[in-house]
Symmetry: D2
């Protein structure tokens, strides 16, 4: 037991500052205007396959209509950029401040979230006009900015870009939910899924006990919830070399997983019974065969693919059934240092979990992309955490209750958006995101 | 007390069979194909001002998206005409039978009513294509039908036409509700309201006690709930010469009407408190002035107009406050014999209550059109009532519980649709229809 | 068709005023003090088998704890007798006015009805002390009253006596519900049910069309909702000679009655599905045998007994299934003239439906007592109805909405309480009262 | 940065193993039979002031009737001791296994928790008889046990004793809630509160960063959730020398604390608005003065007393308003090493927060007893945590979701029950326990 301070030699690389440096090298930073326009374009690209009617639907309070996402992300730039930095800015649609504010109490009252699906106006066309008006004004502002202003704009527009990337992911997951609620099971887009190859046996990659530094402190952008960087002591642990597959999850189902109370957290068992869960979201058994809803419509379940659309409750029950447990977010972050920041991201526009392309089973696969990986860590502030001042302080901190941290990004996350220190969070019963399972275990 | 048998001489005309005869004279019946096409066209005319997004919204379980109305009325003809009378009929969209069946258990399972607003597909365009496909096939069927078939078609298509007229009214009231839920308060159509002139003092027109025949038995179409024609004994009563106005209802409000429990039915008092009612639906007080939502957007309240969008509870409380009561449906039907079947109907496309154009106060005004008039009569079967056999038997009878009868049609009802014997019905807390108040009182 | 005015000769006796006269003869009226004490004693007699804990439970908002009934009926006399007629009356427990007012807004605010089961204090002992204090004071008031005061007391105390009889019935039905919610299925009292003999075939006793007078106008006490007496025209009808039995209802169940939507009112079908009804309340099938909860605990179902604890929805569905319908309350009242006011009432303290003791099938049996008989009549005001002035006006009128009339009294009703004109009322889904079915049918 | 490993010298004493040793010295362990009988007696002592009716009430799903607690704690010994260790044990009341199992799925189905208040039987007398039957049998078992059996009994009976102590605390808090729901505001017992003296200014006692061992590993009893003992790295922090007082919390209220969204977690802000919170539970303002419900009835609020009956949300909002934060459970446990395990516990039978008896402000006061102290730590498993096998494994682990850890015990906790490592847990909106606030802050 002599390794209290030093990270383990075998599986753990030095963490301090390295990851951000690596990222800087991999992604040379384009100009601010270019980054702004790129992200705005990608939102519109996601919308391309949609009909006007598709933009309107809200299937549940947690999801929003596509139209709302498209307007809200524009409102964000109008509110935090144009209103602040354009002298005598005169909003063309002052009512939008009420309609498209999501939850910033400091910015004023806002329209009830569960009722966003009751708004037929502004129309899709009007929302796109609103977007293009904002785009023009923001672009002009950037072009004409002097150095001191540009510095100010850099941080807030970068936040806006990251904010829009988050909503892009929600647009993909929310529209999938819309199509699934429709008995016609429409497809968003017909795209052939990639062929899956066979999956190697999962290995436990192990880490010795020791002190590690966790959280962001590099020069690049991060959300406030990723810092401050701080020390933690982590006992030795093992982490699965790859994600849990559909075929493994099917074993759990067939072993009565959804009917055995002893496998579940108490609240999870309530959810199973009240919501009549008997498989992951979007799964359907038809005449003995499992199918799953994808953005290309219903397709036969691919056993080799990582299981997706499970709640924390299901991930936790599966882990208990398998004899393992879910990792903590600290364990995940430590282990992630061994993986490059690559994977099946939104940039590939697959919007579906991919096959395991290359893995010898002896190193980590699928750490980034494909599915968000549930951790057992409650979403809570890091030591010394302080939210940003003003309205933007409402971005993260106030949600640190009854939610759980997910790591690694998914097939609907932009590659530029993700970091090793990135903390996503959802309530433990949420299933409509691309969420999956990587196992951990105690050593000794 | 010698008038037990004979209807009163002064105010009551002989009822037996006459009204239906009169209607026959007033409305020479056009050909079946023409009637079919006319009603189908009018539905589309109602849709003209709408954007695709407007068609999708469902604001409450009782209301439906416009798109759903347009598809359901077509499903009705497909199910009860084409599938029955076209040999080897092959439906292009078999799934529509699930999506657009409203509540006919005998036709098969149907999509959950409160979730109709979750369907973005089929799109508006596809629904209009569905309509025009059905229109073509029904028209062809009528054109090519021989006499025996035509006789069969006559009754079912006439039912379908009346069914569609009912949905036209719902389309108008449902879309009004959609626009009202939107804080932008969009207008459906900008149309100047008619100028209101002064309103004469309400008079009590009186009827002596006696036996009357109630219900339909003429040769024309009627719904099954209007029959069989039967005898009732009605004690003497008085009925108000005109509808209650906004200005009279404002007196009730200002006299604390919504805060005085003694004026309300027990369930009504619960509704007032749970739903925080303090005025009719669609009223808003802004800086001391009352406004009301119309299909042309928010407009200042016109005191001379009949009060509209009140529940049975409010109508009943107002009546109690005023010292009167609501009429029974029998009283209303008896009195209606004195009025011609004319008024402010959907045909005028005003879709708003009109001013009182001509009334000396000594005869009935506004008996037809403008607003449905709440009666105190629970919606229940007439003696000898038997629902139609088969699925269409579900049209009326099964709803005869916890609903109240309204009479006379509204500004959203087609003139050809209404009859003196027509029984509309809604739960006592419904307010989104064009519903208003005519007072009655006991004599002696 | 010459019988419009005269009631049918065969089955209908002259109604005008006769029934009240007959009752006067049958039940010579004891002194006021005696009647007061008798009814107060009977409430306590009903409580005898109860433990203190039994008095506290409220199983649903519609039911009340026994303790509450015992206190509320005393509050009634304190409020409407002592406070009004005892000079300088000084209430010992002013807070009881808040706790034990049921729903009289005019008397002041009252404790929330659904929370009556949250009160452990006052204790049972304290409530009985309260009762005996009130009893003493009311008795003294009666004894010492002069003639003019006695006249005033007569009407209000008679109302209080009738009010207490209503609560006695509720005490019996509410405590039955308490014991049924307990998996131990405790018995209230062990009493052998009477032996059932065979039941004769049901006959249709028929009545010709005509005008009848309905409602109370005799010299004796009645509730305001029983008047004013008024004329109705009733078409010819047939009424079943006896109640529907358990064995007949079992046929309905075995014929899929609870699974066939076409038999049900729409709201009834919702109730069946939401509340998972598949038999009358209190029925349980154990190893192929039907049992039912009684006040003596679970007992095997007796096929010959009248079916009990059915809602209006079930009564209506059964009637439709059988080819008949439910009677209107007018039909029932007309027919009841042929029966003497005798039956299985609370006075026998059986508190359970009894066997059919004597019936040749050619005259009415079981018209009074055993079970309240559902009618298809919505509970609504008679022509000319006006509620009493002041707080007591809240007794009946404000409940005339979404409830249905029941007639004839039950095994938990006091014989002195019932009348031919008596109108009981409950919502259409209520099942915990002793409610059953008598069939009617149209003639012609 | 040389203090990574060693705990700070100034404020932190060596933790390893010492605390349990100290406890052993302070509380010489009486014999098993004696400990069993003592705890059983104390439950009955708590019941002494209650009337039978008080035992029956359940005010909310989270609380239970006193009668249920008394039966359930007996069921625990019957199930886990008698049924396991008494050969051919024959339960007198086999139905109690269904009624009084709380949540152990492994033991079989159980009665619905939110409906525990619907059971009048078994009566209080029967439950006490059940208790005394169980007591006799367990005592006999202990007396007659040989050494190997005694060893087995020691661990399970000790668990049962601790289990009963937990229910004793719930009995006190649940009955307080019962009396508070009653508008009569009955007192449980009239006992003068202790006189409060002035409260010294709160000081920050500081701790340097370092590695600490957290969790139980001593020889004495602990719950499984307190282990395994493990290492954590804790950054430097300060902890308040005493609890937050009523007078300090009043400042928060008067500064608009309950109306300022920026002070609250998002879910907390929802709770404030949905539940209309504007002060701690049990506070009432009457004519400008604050009162609070105690077990002696309503009493005027004592400014010097620690604030009590606040949720995590309120504790967190107060901390944010004050410029501080809540401690983590690790920080609390580290700091607690400086306090002796003494305080205002249930043993004093005060059942109310006490005054601050002696504090110079430079050392910790009130760390134990008075109120449970909310921490910001989500209730989650320690590294290496494994629940006990079998039914008792359901004791703790399955609740580790969406709850927060509280430390230190309250005025309703038995002194023998508490430990420095003890982890209590409740959902963040729970307020009916004796819960209060100790502030923490980051250093640097």
């Amino acid at each position: 037991m002599n390794t209290l301070v030093e990270p383990s030699q075998k599986n753990s690389s030095p963490l301090f500052g390295t990851n951000s440096a690596k990222e800087t090298i991999l992604t040379p930073k384009p100009g601010l205007g270019r980054r702004f326009r790129d992200v705005r374009c990608f939102s519109e690209k996601i919308c391309e396959p949609l009909e006007p009617e598709d933009y309107v639907i809200q299937t549940m309070p947690e999801a929003s209509p596509t139209k709302w996402h498209m307007a809200h992300t524009s409102w964000f730039f109008e509110t935090f950029v144009l209103k602040r930095f354009v002298p005598d800015y005169d909003s063309r649609h002052p009512q939008y401040n009420f309609l498209f504010n999501s939850y910033y109490n400091a910015v004023g009252p806002f329209f009830s979230r569960p009722h966003r699906g009751l708004l037929s106006r502004p129309t899709v066309k009007e929302v796109f006009q609103y977007r293009s008006d904002i785009d023009l004004l923001v672009s002009e502002l950037i072009e004409s900015a002097d150095e001191p202003l540009l510095e100010k704009l850099e941080s807030i527009i970068t936040l806006g870009v990251n904010h829009e990337q988050q909503h892009q992911e929600l647009m993909v997951t929310d529209i999938k939910n819309v199509f699934w609620h429709n008995p016609l099971r429409p497809g968003y887009r017909n795209r052939q899924p990639l062929k899956a190859s066979s999956v190697p046996v999962m290995q436990w990659l192990t880490f010795e006990a020791g002190i590690h530094s966790i959280g962001h402190n590099g020069p690049g952008f991060s959300f406030d919830n990723e810092g401050p960087r701080h020390r933690v002591f982590v006992e030795s642990f093992g982490l699965g070399s790859r994600l849990v597959t559909n075929s493994e999850f099917l074993e759990f189902i067939e072993d009565g997983g959804y009917r055995r109370s002893e496998l579940w957290l108490s609240l999870g068992w309530n959810a199973v019974n009240e919501k009549h869960w008997s498989s992951p979201l979007y799964w359907e058994k038809r005449e003995g065969k499992w199918f799953t809803m994808t953005l290309a419509g219903m397709t036969e379940l691919v056993p080799e693919e990582p299981v997706c659309h499970v709640s924390l409750f299901e991930a936790d029950a599966f882990a208990r059934w398998s004899g393992g447990r879910l990792p903590t977010e600290q364990e995940w972050e430590i282990a992630s240092a061994q993986s490059s920041l690559e994977g099946n991201f939104a940039d590939r526009e697959l919007f579906h979990v991919g096959p395991l392309t290359s893995s010898n089973g002896c190193e980590f696969a699928q750490m980034f992309g494909d599915v968000w990986e549930w951790t057992q860590s409650s979403y809570s502030p890091y030591p010394g955490y302080a939210p940003a001042p003003g309205a933007l302080g409402e971005y993260n901190g106030k949600f640190m209750c009854n939610q759980y941290v997910l790591r690694g990004g998914s097939c609907a996350t932009s590659q530029l958006h993700i970091r090793r220190t990135y903390r996503n969070f959802f309530p433990p019963d949420a299933r409509w995101q691309f969420t999956g399972i990587r196992l951990a275990k105690d050593l000794v």
